[in-house]
């Protein structure tokens, strides 16, 4: 199947930071979690996708089209939610929507009403009176009301309370059911992605660490705890990230099946979550010792 979003060796250079040959692809009908620490390059990548900044090198294709040459056509088919509201506080949602709706050829008022009702968004209230959560929900309603085939979201759930986050994720789950829409969701909150992501891309220091299906990641990696002597018996080559203490070690290993055979009953292997995979992948297996 042709990817709905494809980045190939995309590079963007700033003084003190380079987004370095970023490549990944998203298939239609899936949610990709885009994770990484602050300053890793998530927002820069999303800005490049949205053509808000220009790449120095590389190629971005959306719906199989060059993202700059076919910008308007592509943006008709993209919905977006950013980490901050960019709506005018002096306007009500009705006024703001009346400005935005005519810009989309496929605007669907019925869908808009459905989502605003579902998200309990008042239509005569000024946006200045909206909480952050309500503004994010409003942005989501707009993003879903023009039959978008790709949703691009930059930290939409950060700063939201668990109830609003859960509502947000429920709607995304519903949207993805029709298997026509794909979602690129950048988030710090990996527990959200544990729930809904099909694919996970980890970026750090401007470079992609991995971009894989979540199930494969969870199968491939394992948390391991054991005595330090085990490390010196050849386990280190499987270790991705490590915490050592006087009493032993815990860490993340790759090649779960092989490691299981290697350690037998000498260590405990557990299924990691995305946060643990991210933390250990970023920590590395260098000299980072925890405990004393």
């Amino acid at each position: 199947m042709k990817p709905i979003l494809e980045l190939k060796n995309v590079t963007k250079r700033y003084t003190g930071f380079t987004l370095d040959r970023v490549s990944f692809a998203l298939e239609p009908g899936y949610i990709m979690g885009f994770i990484g620490p602050n300053g890793a390059g998530k927002t820069t990548t999303i800005k490049l996708i949205m053509n808000l900044i220009r790449p120095d090198e590389g190629e971005i294709k959306i719906f199989g089209l060059d993202h700059r040459r076919h910008e308007q056509e592509i943006k008709q088919r993209i919905g977006f939610v950013y980490d901050e509201s960019n709506f005018y506080d002096t306007l009500t949602t009705t006024e703001m929507t009346k400005v935005i709706a005519p810009l989309y050829k496929n605007w669907d008022w019925a869908a808009y009403r459905k989502y605003t009702e579902k998200l309990a968004l008042p239509d005569r209230k000024k946006l200045s009176q909206f909480s952050r959560g309500m503004k994010m929900k409003y942005a989501l309603a707009l993003a879903l009301s023009h039959r978008a085939e790709l949703l691009v979201m930059d930290e939409p759930t950060s700063g939201l309370d668990p109830v609003v986050r859960s509502e947000f994720l429920d709607i995304l789950r519903d949207v993805i059911q029709d298997e026509r829409c794909s979602v690129l969701l950048s988030s710090h909150i990996t527990s959200d992605l544990d729930q809904i992501a099909d694919y996970v891309t980890l970026i750090n220091g401007g470079r992609i660490v991995f971009s894989e299906s979540k199930e494969e990641l969870l199968e491939e990696y394992a948390l391991i705890k054991g005595e330090k002597s085990l490390l010196d018996s050849g386990l280190r080559e499987y270790v991705v990230g490590l915490k050592e203490s006087r009493f032993g070690f815990e860490g993340l290993v790759t090649n779960r099946a092989e490691v299981q055979r290697f350690v037998g009953s000498r260590a405990v292997l557990e299924r990691p979550n995305l946060e643990e995979i991210m933390l250990y992948c970023l920590r590395g297996n260098g000299n980072d010792h925890a405990g004393a």
Binding site: K47, M50, N51, L52, I53, R54, Q72, K75, Q76, F80, Y82, E84, S85, N86, F87, Y88, D89, T90, L91, E95, K98, V99, I100, P102, L103, Y104
Partner: protein
């Protein structure tokens, strides 16, 4: 494009609503400017509109929104020029009416200034001023362009002082314009303002296209 013009006017409801109040305030502020009173009022009110549009856009980082939506850059840029034109064309007759009312009530003396032609000259003046400022705004954003705006403003007033002192000496070119007749001069002035605005639009568009958000 019309949607974007509507947006500019909607966002500036606070400028559209109390516009009468602004005209009144400026009527008193510019009461000693003679026939140029209406020109000065429309220019001041119009320029406030330009600056406040920029301030609101900066406040909400609106460039990120508009450039994420399916809107070509020429429409984003053009809407600002067009909205200003629409706004000041609406303000011009209001200014004439307010000045006429204040004069007939004996509150101020603005008999000569209270003409629609004078007010429309204000539309031209604000379009020229905005044509100087907007390329800076679209190139650098509101915060940086505000500093440069001071230079534009001071430069414009210095230039207008030079021009008016030159006109008061009745130079040959004024006599030549007089011979052409009012209608020809008016058409020429409108044409000149239009050329300046169109050139400014293309410069703004070029500079805006180079920006990153």
């Amino acid at each position: 494009m019309i949607t974007l013009v509507l947006k500019e006017l909607l966002v500036q409801k606070m400028m559209v609503g109390p516009v009468l109040l602004y005209i009144l305030v400026f009527s008193f502020a510019f009461r000693n400017t003679g026939d140029a009173q209406a020109v000065a009022i429309v220019t001041a009110v119009g320029y406030m509109f330009v600056m406040l549009c920029g301030a609101w856009d900066e406040k909400v980082n609106a460039d990120r929104l508009w450039n994420s939506l399916p809107v070509p850059k020429w429409q984003i840029v053009g809407a600002r020029y067009l909205a200003l034109l629409v706004y000041t064309v609406l303000v011009a007759p209001l200014t004439t009416a307010v000045l006429a009312l204040l004069t007939s009530a004996g509150i101020i003396k603005a008999a000569g200034a209270a003409s629609l032609v004078n007010a429309l000259a204000g539309v031209g003046a604000v379009m020229v001023l905005a044509s100087l400022f907007l390329p800076l705004y679209f190139a650098f954003g509101y915060t940086k362009s505000r500093v440069l705006n001071m230079l534009v403003f001071v430069g414009s007033f210095s230039l207008s002082t030079i021009v008016s002192s030159s006109v008061s000496k009745q130079p040959a070119w004024i006599a030549a314009l007089d011979r052409l007749g009012g209608a020809v001069v008016a058409v020429g002035a409108v044409g000149l303002v239009a050329v300046i605005a169109v050139l400014s639009f293309f410069v703004s568009l070029k500079l805006y296209s180079l920006r990153e958000f």
